[in-house]
Amino acid sequence: MSDREHVNHLTGGVEAWNAWRRANPGVRPDLSGSHIRVRGLAGADLRDADMRGTLLPGADLSGADLSGADLSGADLMETDLRGARLSGADLRGANLMGADLRGADLAGADLEDTVLYRTGLEQSEGVCHSLWLRALMEFADGLREVEGEGRGFEFEEVESAVIESNYPAASTSRIEVELSDPISTRAATEILGALNRLYSAVADQDLPGPIIRIGAHDGEGRR
């Protein structure tokens, strides 16, 4: 369970929280299992915090430092994590559905079983190869979910997957593959799998890692 004093510090606002962190550099914040109802946490210093199972849905964590934090099982649904530092964070099993991770640093983050459905990852840095695979799997899960609701599969919820490398625009090109509509889950996942395996067979040689965005987008990759 969380340390009530620590939770109270955080709910007192980012400025006070960061001041408390500076004054207590040896204290590891324990926010585990708590429901943080304050939404304005932009720029918060949450380095190495214990946030296992913490509920933060819809919070503004843009620019926050969550490097090394244990966020396993945390509910970060629809949070604003733009530009956040999540390097080395443990995000296993965390719910990032609908979160905005554009520009976030995810280098070395553990994303096993992380829910990335409809998650904005555009321009995120340091996304590892396994994330690509994981995101494709989540993408496929999303498709199955839609199919399971008896509406048939028409990419109603998941319109596209964007896989991008964080290379300078000048040296990059984009392939756009238009698929039949509707399309079966089997065909969609087979195509995604084949593209992924073939491309990553050589991309491993010189790409730092792909970046994935799942969800509706237009032809220019904007949400």
């Binding site: 990059t172 238009e178 039949s180 509509d181 995604l192 067979a201 050589v202 790409l207």
Partner: protein, 109 residues
Amino acid sequence: MNRISFKGTSRIIVDFAERFLELAPVRIEPADEVRERFGRDLERIARALDIELRHLENVTDFLYEHGVPEQEITALCAGDGAGISSLARDAAVLEGFLQDGTIIDVRVG
């Protein structure tokens, strides 16, 4: 619209689209050295696993062209050739979906 898009270094992306998504006006033939170094293995794998040789050659040439070390390619072709045949099957899958109209259009930009 159902669409998959992905972005990477231009050199790889363009070659990928030409080879596997049929954007090349004519089929890309493997380099002579690819046939010299791996041809025998690829023919053996094609016979044993009933995979079209052209797919095996295409993926091998793709790997070679983009700097995958020769020893890694050799390892993919070793034994029953499971590694290289898996990639060749992926190439065949994409070709099949292009031919049956599941993949409607491919653009590179």
